[in-house]
Symmetry: C2
Subunit: 239 residues, 2 copies
Amino acid sequence: MIEPLLLNLEHRDVLAPSEHALLRKTMTMSRRIAKGDDLVSDGSRPTCSTLLVQGFAARYKITRDGGRQITALHVPGDFVDLHAFLLKTMDHGIVALSPCHVLLADHADLRQITESSPHLARLLWLDTLVHGSIHRAWIVAMGRRSKASHLAHIVCELYARLQITGNVDGQSFHFPLSQAEMADVMGLSLVHMNRVIQDMRRNGLISWVNQTVSILDWERLRTLAEFDPTYLNLWIEPR
Amino acid sequence: MIEPLLLNLEHRDVLAPSEHALLRKTMTMSRRIAKGDDLVSDGSRPTCSTLLVQGFAARYKITRDGGRQITALHVPGDFVDLHAFLLKTMDHGIVALSPCHVLLADHADLRQITESSPHLARLLWLDTLVHGSIHRAWIVAMGRRSKASHLAHIVCELYARLQITGNVDGQSFHFPLSQAEMADVMGLSLVHMNRVIQDMRRNGLISWVNQTVSILDWERLRTLAEFDPTYLNLWIEPR
DNA sequence: CGCGATCTTGATAGGGTTCAAGGTCCGTGG
DNA sequence: CCACGGACCTTGAACCCTATCAAGATCGCG
């Protein structure tokens, strides 16, 4: 069940068999979370970290006026709250956008990894750095891209991230978010989100029906998004 | 010269004298960068990481149409491209917004720290996690706050970050950005940025003259920004 | 004193929010 | 098996926020 994480890490560096074993030993507990429930709550102080192995989840923050902003989307293989191992207190929540299956790693065991297995520790560090890199890509998209380009960038990114764990099917992937949730990702109103999506469809770039997104024209989508996957660090090198 | 980094780390955990010494030994080279020059260039593969000890710097990305989005502001004490130690290839640039003084740490030496000094390694990891946390706060501000609230949040955040290294003076701090640069931070046009700033002044929240920002009414500024410093992790605990 | 960089203001147009209403789909219970 | 309700998607219209274009004002420096 830990395979999605291994695939993730192995796209960045070679793992020794002992590192496989160590990770397996660390991820003991398993949990299922229903759609809409929090994997991790705002303000909590987790004592273990959550690895998402199945389903979609989102980091989010609620503002005083009741608005919600999603700051990250998580897919199978993402170590969703590895952050809390060192940050200690959650300053935002993480919610299941679909039924989720997760594995838990006790912080004491993670600490043990940093003490005894520096290479594996660097790869876990790297995992959090890649998510930081994704945050920067989102900031650029929010600040300086058209809404269509922003959406296109998200679709390209999700395709790339889902592909490495085998969660795509041809040019399509399962995508369980509602348009309202997508609006919370892009910082738009629901009405405008809907219009941006329909423009995209009319232009023959994507289809999105039945919780399935399909990329109809990669080249034009990539160009519109100015998508360059460098920031996802999807290549192997010694780290 | 390494003091700002020590102050930064020591706001999160206790450092042993040997860890002080190790950091000092690692930060050998020193460099000065003129305003407007890149500390680190987009697309490069740095072999050392840059610690900012004096001045302001910004991470930025240029879009095809010539727009610029600043994804992070850096102040003295920030280990600005520790990321590249593991991410390897820069997918964005880092520019000096004022004359900057930096220290360099060779990646081989950083690797040595992760091998021999796990606690210090965790603190460096933590430093990058805090910057990820700041990214998320920015995403929330860009997506779901009014422009005035967004600006207020940035002012609160900078004040808090500058304070821990002793770079504030009462309720004021030196802030060398132009309004055009600030527009690239917030993803606005220059004209609108100017209007947001003037609203803020008219409301008696801040003054901003001569590269000096002063907070005139903390309580109202904090409320407007919904600023909660939890995400900056400015408290000591074992990590 | 003159020039470039920066800040400020006005006018216009377009993008995005909000309010309102109707449509579609699907699961549930009578 | 069909009626109903709820979640989600779609559309229209009015208004406001923000970008863009254009020009003038201010500041600091050589």
